[in-house]
């Protein structure tokens, strides 16, 4: 009898084990394959940080200098690796500092799981020290969020968090864990990955009849045009996509988020869409007869005025998110599904074709753009440097193999217009939210996400000053990030708009900067500043050859403008190539 009881006790002990909520969080991370965390400790998340102390062999923690830096780093990590980025922050200000990054990850569909500490459950709603209503603050900017007050919930909730963040249309998830739940010991029954939530359908069933209808439209088209977005990258469907356009012979243009999904010099690649995209893709959107939108969401920066957008075309829209279909542009055929599944089915049904005349139209447009915009950007007649020639020199030196992380503004548009890419997940930028300050921390994260690749952050003199403190993170953890500041001594994009649309009234765009090289030196980061054309290439080479991080400041023209441009409120076909046409 006694022995029987003993074995029984042993058995139960073998299946359950008493651990803390904090320990359960870290075990969940390990089970989900997490190896890097970006975070910042504080009072309400101390038990988790205490548990982390024993996990240094399994989990690398990067101590950022501001929580916004943590979440942008996690975004950069996720975008470059296709894995979910992970963030730790404390309650109150720690959590509110995440909000910009959450909004950015939400609109750019980036998988991120944020764990925030929260005050003890019994203090909720009492205006306790560093208490803030994180769940309600973050509700509009998270795909899902949840507050844990009991440690028993942690394994299950974290499994859900990773599943939701990474599946379907990815997005940020925030889990707020009260301090008592972090400290609480509970019977741990192991970790089980989540594979199904009954109210959540990340992967729709593919309906063949709509693929057939789409294929029929494409096969009958005379001037079909593919426009694609980040969905191709998020769906890991780059190969499927390339096969599709190659068989169908359809010219393809990318949104800023879809960039690098196919090599930029692919024969069917006709450039970038949008406000500062290429001339041909914008103009000819209104001349195609079938518009095939793949994994993109018809952002207003892409469509310009909606009532003047592709009205002549039948629209096929492939997207995983049903809420995107018919949201901005009415579709003729909607193919709801994961493009990794739908594209091969479509490829099978489309005829092998070429459209030489139609493609020639894009080439003609490109010639015109070369003549009117690109020539002046690449081969300026004055001594003043342009941003474009810097990007061109980067292309030459990196041969299109680098990860390029950009901030927001003129330099971003120029970089996205001229950078060359050979492989996917190489263009990391804040597309939807337009978050200045994104690039430096995102580049740090990108280096951890793709340690074998060269990571170059291209940032304006305004944006760098928004998250410049992350130089401290680089100093301490030494991720090899190359930082280029394209300094025009202005908040350039706003200045451009003031010049074009506000009668040259330069209202608070004249921004002063510190000596960036000195600042970098203060953080033990090598740096150099150049303002002459003949120094650009050698400085870039020095930066790339340098072992470790390097900050290169390039002084560029103060009042250069980015063209072409679809001025706000106009249709895509009203794209202008110069200031005179505005």
């Amino acid at each position: 009898m006694d022995t029987l009881e003993l074995t029984k006790e042993k058995k139960t002990k073998a299946v359950t084990e008493s651990i803390s909520g904090s320990e359960a969080v870290l075990r969940a991370f390990v089970a989900e394959g997490v190896d890097t965390i970006f975070g910042y400790p504080g009072g309400a998340i101390m038990p988790i940080y205490d548990a982390l102390y024993d996990y240094h062999d399994k989990l690398t923690h990067i101590l950022v200098r501001h929580e916004q830096g943590a979440i942008h780093a996690a975004q950069g990590f996720a975008r470059v690796s296709g894995r979910t980025g992970v963030v730790f922050a404390t309650s109150g200000p720690g959590a509110t500092n995440l909000v910009t990054g959450l909004a950015d990850a939400m609109i750019d569909s980036t998988p991120v799981v944020c764990i925030t500490g929260q005050v003890f459950a019994h203090l909720l709603g009492t205006d306790a020290f560093q208490e803030t209503d994180v769940i309600n603050i973050t509700t509009p900017v998270t795909k899902w969020n949840y507050q844990v007050t009991d440690a028993n919930e942690i394994p299950h909730v974290l499994a859900k968090a990773f599943y939701i963040a990474g599946s379907g249309r990815p997005g940020p998830v925030l889990i707020d864990i009260t301090k008592n739940a972090q400290l609480q010991l509970f019977d741990y029954k192991g970790y089980e990955k989540c594979e199904h939530i009954r109210s959540y359908r990340p992967k729709p069933i593919v309906r063949k009849e709509y693929i057939e209808q789409a294929a029929k439209l494409i096969n009958e088209a005379e001037r079909p045009f593919v426009i694609f977005g980040q969905g191709v990258i998020l769906g890991k469907a780059e190969k499927e996509f390339q096969k599709f356009i190659e068989k169908a012979g359809v010219p393809a243009a990318w949104t800023i988020m879809g960039m690098s999904a196919i090599p930029t010099d692919h024969p069917l690649a006709v450039g970038m869409l949008g406000m500062h995209g290429n001339y041909g893709p914008n103009l000819l959107t209104n001349e195609c007869d079938v518009l095939i939108a793949i994994g993109m969401r018809f952002d207003d920066r892409v469509t310009g005025r909606l009532d003047k957008y592709a009205k002549q075309a039948k629209v096929i829209h492939l997207d995983i998110d049903p809420a995107e279909i018919d949201k901005n542009v009415k579709t003729t055929v909607a193919v709801w599904g994961d493009c990794k599944e739908t594209l091969p089915l479509l490829t099978e049904l489309v005829q092998q074709k070429v459209y030489p005349q139609w493609l020639q139209k894009f080439k003609n447009c490109m010639e015109k753009e070369e003549e009117k915009c690109i020539k002046a950007e690449m081969n300026p007649t004055s001594d003043i440097l342009t941003m474009g020639e810097v990007i061109d020199a980067i292309n030459e030196l990196t041969k299109g193999n680098a990860v390029i992380v950009t901030d927001v503004g003129q330099h971003q548009m120029v970089a996205c217009r001229y950078a060359k890419y050979n492989q996917s997940k190489s263009n990391i930028t804040s597309g939807g939210l337009g978050t200045m300050g994104y690039a430096l921390p995102a580049a740090i994260g990108a280096k951890y996400g793709a340690p074998e690749r060269t990571v170059i952050a291209i940032i304006g003199d305004g944006g760098i000053q928004m998250t410049i403190q992350e130089l401290g993170t680089i100093m301490q953890f030494k991720p090899d990030v190359k930082i280029i500041i394209l300094n025009n001594n202005f908040l350039g994009m706003v200045r451009q708009w003031q010049e074009l649309f506000h009668k040259n009234r330069y209202s608070f765009v004249d921004i002063q900067s510190p000596d960036f090289v000195q600042v970098a030196k203060g953080y033990s980061i090598e740096g150099r500043s150049v303002c002459k054309r003949e120094d650009v290439k050698s400085a870039l080479a020095e930066m790339l050859d340098h072992k470790g991080s390097f900050l290169l400041e390039v002084m560029v023209g103060k009042e250069n403008n980015v063209f072409p441009m679809v001025p706000q409120g106009r249709g895509v076909a009203e794209i202008v190539l110069s200031k005179e046409e505005v």
Partner: protein, 196 residues
């Protein structure tokens, strides 16, 4: 497209915070919610929201897709008033003495289908359940006699052309969705739009 009254029925998990998630879908777009009711549904553990708004069909359809996109939402439907059976419940508090003296209470009750819920020396509470016009009309009747308090509930609605959620929920439980779940109105509607 013209604006009209639509009733949105949302089947959800019962989760704290979901009400906020649904409410901000409307407030973000500056759309006024005329009425919102949360209740249990025909299925144990499944919650049912009934939301009334005044909008065009195009907007309502987009809102429903945004609602359905929320992780804990099982399904969202929208219907015009013709497609549903709906009721609201109103309570009216009036001074008992005046009512007893001046009003033919019996006639009143039968005419409006009202019911006296509480009768006290100082006040009486009547209840009317019905549609907006009916509950409004009763206010008009009582107002001259000193309506002390009035309150009306949110709309509750039954969709005429619905088999309920039991069967549908079963298909949600499976890992691979059945046709039941996959049905999506815009794809079927495109059948009509589609011309070749």
């Amino acid at each position: 497209m013209t604006k009209q009254e639509y009733t949105i029925t949302v089947y959800t998990e019962n989760q704290i915070g979901l009400l906020n998630r649904i409410a901000i879908i409307f407030s973000r777009r500056k759309i006024n919610v005329e009425s919102l009711n949360t209740s249990p549904s025909e299925v144990d553990s499944v919650h049912r929201f009934t939301i009334v708004i005044n909008e065009t069909e195009d907007v309502v359809r987009k809102l429903c897709r945004q609602i359905e996109k929320q992780v804990e939402v099982l399904k969202a439907y929208y219907n015009t008033n013709e497609e549903i059976v709906w009721q609201e419940l109103a309570l009216y508090k009036v001074p008992t003495d005046i009512i007893a003296e001046e009003v033919k209470v019996e006639r009143l009750l039968s005419q409006f289908g009202a019911k006296a819920v509480v009768i006290r020396k100082d006040y009486t509470v009547f209840e009317v359940s019905g549609q907006r016009a009916e509950t409004d009309a009763f206010i008009k009747v009582l107002e001259p006699y000193g309506l002390i308090e009035f309150v009306r509930s949110a709309r509750v609605a039954i969709i005429k052309n619905s088999d309920g959620f039991h069967k549908k929920l079963k298909s949600f439980e499976y890992k691979e969705p059945g046709e039941e779940v996959v049905e999506n109105e815009y794809l079927s509607e495109n059948e009509k739009v589609f011309s070749m």
